[in-house]
Symmetry: C2
Subunit: 200 residues, 2 copies
């Protein structure tokens, strides 16, 4: 199992947004859409062993988690509107801390970063945090079978969030010499792990 | 200069399409939009040394080339609708074989694959063709300074196109063990060349 957690600091937490304006009124929801697509799609196929957790911290009801489960996922196409539409349907639901399914393979609940990381740690998952001054992923990817990769949106990760992430013993890595968009980092991580698995 | 050429076999060749339905009625224009964004964006910055050529072969007026020039490009945001909107404006223009500027950094003209490749060859550019059975890009990227990278859309490249590409002496490479979307290949190429330049 390969998992990605992307933190959307301004991402709206109600389904009351337009698919025609995801960068604006939906609080850069477009970034989360592209990350979801980059994490899950192969050419003419889907990565069934991947899960994506979107932590949405925007108004009006901050701290919601939308989870895409590659194994059971349906109705997702690669374009931004498609993932946006599934996120919107998830956010339309009334939720508590108990996760509920909004569409096949998409789940939603209330929750925060520390809680989510504790769940990963309890399951024995390795936590990997993307930061520009981290170790080169190519040097360490061999140990990332079964890891959870954490990254921020266009504004990165706050100091408070970083403290929580480092407190659970996260490994800090980078994916190359330049600072990239989150969805490009997701693509590079997938490729590195694909190569590791293939023995390249 | 790093260049990408993406062939959109069904991509509409008039601006008469809806940004709300780029995968459908615009002939998978969404793929070309994502490739454009993947080629040109850095985090909070743009790759000024990159050009993107979109070869559009769909109805109603096949064989148009839309070129994004990173150096002079303006008004491009990372979301699909943004690149879609600039492509739409380019396709709204009446064009011949003489390239015209539709918006800052976006150019359009009539043209076909063979003609475009001849232009690259005359400029002494190396042609690199993405195919799953090619050499691993990691083994050869050191020679790809100043290269043009060619790839197809979701349906790849036709036999006839491939013949034209191989006839100009293209190097055939792949980016990893699995078959990926074109925009993910663009991201992986950019990263490999970034690493080569940085001496990683």
């Amino acid at each position: 199992m390969r998992e990605f957690l992307i933190i959307g600091h301004k991402a709206l937490t109600s389904g009351n947004f337009s698919l025609n304006d995801m960068p604006g009124s939906a609080g850069r929801m477009d970034i989360l859409c592209r990350c979801t697509s980059a994490a899950l799609f192969l050419s003419h196929d889907m990565r069934r062993d991947v899960q994506v957790h979107l932590l949405l911290l925007g108004e009006p009801d901050p701290q919601k988690i939308v989870r895409f489960d590659g194994e059971s996922l349906r109705y997702l196409n690669p374009d931004e509107r498609s993932s946006g539409s599934l996120i919107k349907k998830a956010l339309d639901r009334e939720v508590g801390e108990q996760e509920i399914r909004s569409t096949p393979g998409v789940w939603v609940r209330r929750g925060e970063l520390g809680m989510l990381l504790d769940e990963f740690v309890k399951k024995g998952r390795k936590i990997v945090y993307l930061r520009e001054d981290g170790q080169d992923i190519r040097a360490v990817a061999g140990t990332f079978d079964d890891a959870v990769f954490i990254m921020g949106d266009h504004n990165g990760v706050t100091g408070e969030e970083e403290e929580i992430i480092l407190n659970v013993g996260a490994t800090v890595v980078n994916v190359g010499p330049l600072s990239l968009h989150s969805e490009h980092c997701v693509t590079l991580i997938n490729n590195e792990l694909d190569r590791t698995i293939a023995g390249d």
